[in-house]
């Protein structure tokens, strides 16, 4: 059963979920062999720096007994570990046959996942992909051998939150400046190589001309720091019916560059980056995960 969690957020959570994860992570730590990818440094509730093994993939049963964990970074090692864990699980199933296993009563916020979307607002799902240009930075980091192809094919994901008052203006055919600002500062970036803090600030905005006219959204942006940038055209369609937004389809396409090693791209190279937006389906589980920027910018919805 695939479960994705933000270990940084959950590690200290005082909930059943937090306690369950700490049990799994502690078991992984006790087995030793802290992996490069598993290592995470943060402060515990006492303010002490803690290094813990809580990133990667872990296979466990519903009671939190660890069956296996990834020993490497890539798909092959995860599959190998999970396959071995499945074998172990099947053996245990046989041993536990006839025993009733149940979960404790759910604690109040167990099914929520941190901050919630704005009430009566909108959730727009975002996908990001490098569709051209060059990705090959293996020579700069031998530890990433084989990664260039993966990052070149990776799909970045995120969510855009829209407030109710902004939605109401969209219904009237207007594009609120606050929404334009949010899209430009927090949602026009390459995150296909990992969720980092490479958002934009106001001083990085060299151009941000985005207009909504008759349901048709057009725009040009130029965002640049001394080390990275994104210059793109936007085209999209916003439709409403009976006071509800029924369509928010937008595409941004342009050149992205990043001279820092995180991008896994050769120095002084550019990548053709496409970013798409579409309304999240009602009840979508993916849509419940907060926007990446919210972790770093409490003013995200301003």
């Amino acid at each position: 059963m695939p479960v994705s969690v933000n270990s940084y957020k959950m590690f200290f959570a005082q909930s059943d979920d937090g306690q369950f994860l700490r049990k799994v992570f502690d078991a992984a730590m006790s087995k030793g062999g802290l992996t490069r990818v598993g290592k995470q440094l943060f402060r515990n509730e006492k303010g002490e720096e803690v290094v813990h093994d809580n990133q990667g993939t872990f296979t466990c049963d519903v009671q939190g007994d660890l069956l296996g964990r990834q020993k490497g970074r890539w798909v092959g090692s995860s599959v190998q570990s999970a396959t071995a864990a499945l074998d172990d699980f099947e053996k245990r199933k046989g041993q536990l046959a006839g025993q009733e296993i149940s979960l404790p009563p759910s604690d109040q916020d167990a099914k929520t996942y941190g901050p919630q979307p704005p009430e009566e607002g909108l959730v727009v799902e975002q996908t990001i992909k490098v569709i051209g240009g060059h990705r090959d930075r293996e020579s700069l980091d031998p530890g990433l051998q084989g990664s260039a192809g993966y990052y070149g094919r990776a799909l970045g994901l995120d969510r855009l939150w829209i407030r109710k008052d902004e939605k109401d203006l969209l219904v009237q055919g207007k594009l609120p400046q606050s929404l334009t600002n949010r899209i430009v500062l927090y949602h026009l970036r390459d995150n296909t190589y990992g969720q980092l803090w490479h958002f934009w600030s106001a001083k990085d905005v060299k151009k941000a001309e985005i207009h909504l006219e008759g349901g048709r959204l057009t725009g040009k942006v130029h965002l640049e720091t001394g080390k990275r940038g994104y210059e793109a055209d936007l085209l999209g369609f916003v439709e409403s019916k009976d006071g509800r937004i029924t369509r928010f389809d937008v595409v941004s396409k342009g050149w992205s560059w990043d001279k820092e090693v995180w991008s896994h791209a050769p120095p002084n190279s550019k990548q053709l980056l496409a970013i798409t937006f579409r309304l999240s389906d009602p009840g979508s589980k993916m849509g419940k995960v907060p926007p990446g920027a919210l972790r770093h910018f409490p003013e995200y919805l301003r």
Binding site: M1, M10, F20, A82, L157, L235, K253, T276
Partner: protein
């Protein structure tokens, strides 16, 4: 400026054509109901409930940020 010339002028100002829009939006966004084709749960509780119901173990993908910050 006549209508056709105005249309050409407009299209030249916007570097993204409607065909490109349709192609990219369809390829990247439309119909995507899961991340990487996998029906992830995003809370341990929901994962445990499904795992218990279906008699399966949990496969936890834990990252220092939200998984859906990157694909």
């Amino acid at each position: 400026m006549n209508t056709m010339a105005a249309l050409v002028f407009f299209l030249q100002q916007n570097g993204l054509t409607e065909d490109e829009f349709r192609k990219l939006h369809q390829e990247l966004a439309a119909g995507k109901k899961t991340a990487c084709g996998i029906p992830w749960e995003f809370t341990i509780r929901e994962g445990r409930e499904r795992a218990l119901k279906e008699g399966k173990p949990l496969f936890i993908y834990a990252l220092g940020g939200d998984f859906l910050g990157n694909g």
